[in-house]
């Protein structure tokens, strides 16, 4: 079955510095889409970015990610982290099958410090 790997459980970065959250995946089906979700404290996860096009950069709220099917990756990056970016980030993929399964990584907790 499909799986999503987020190698870092905890990431701490200083405000103003760049941040990169890693996401790699494994799929046996024709996966239709990839997502980054963000979950702020005591809130529901919400989609931050999504992509289904290989090698195309997607941007939102200062974050960007590029799907690279050749390396099975969809890393999330930001050039200048803000204190308000502190949250839990999930990478996810959605299968193109009748089951419509979403596979989430274990999540990366990002803490931005002054």
């Amino acid at each position: 079955g499909d799986s999503v790997t987020q190698t870092e459980g905890l990431v701490t970065v200083t405000e103003g510095l760049p941040v990169k959250l890693n996401c790699t995946y494994q799929t046996t089906y024709l996966t239709i889409a990839f997502f980054w979700y963000v979950q702020y404290l005591n809130e529901a996860p919400q989609v931050l970015l999504k992509s289904s096009t290989d090698n195309k950069r997607t941007e939102h709220q200062g974050f960007h990610a590029t799907l690279h099917k050749s390396s099975s990756s969809f890393h999330l990056q930001k050039s200048s982290a803000q204190l308000s970016d502190s949250a839990l980030y999930y990478c996810a993929l959605r299968e193109n099958t009748g089951y419509q399964n979403f596979y989430f990584g274990k999540g990366t907790s990002l803490t931005v410090i002054p």
Binding site: A44, P45, V47, G98, K106
Partner: protein, 115 residues
Amino acid sequence: GPKVLQIPSHQIIDMGQMVTLNCDPVSNHLYFYWYKQILGQQMEFLVNFYNGKVMEKSKLFKDQFSVERPDGSYFTLKIQPTALEDSAVYFCASSPDWGGSYEQYFGPGTRLTVL
């Protein structure tokens, strides 16, 4: 944007009792999901539901768990009987018919405390 509602927001219950968590998904969505998040931990998939059937479930979806959506009403997660380890926040999510890069929309969660 589209909203998923969950009722109640908090539920406290004694171990061994039954509890039903209610989810009001986005009106035109067809796929429904439950996730479990223990305090301070990552969110974990429980079950995927479509056209009145469980499509896939994880090992966390114990025999004491059941889901249904009778006649287009609430999508419910029932736990009978509850156990202490069921204490968590349960998120409901829904997504439209397949095709395109549709994401899941999550509700605000129900915090379940089993005493």
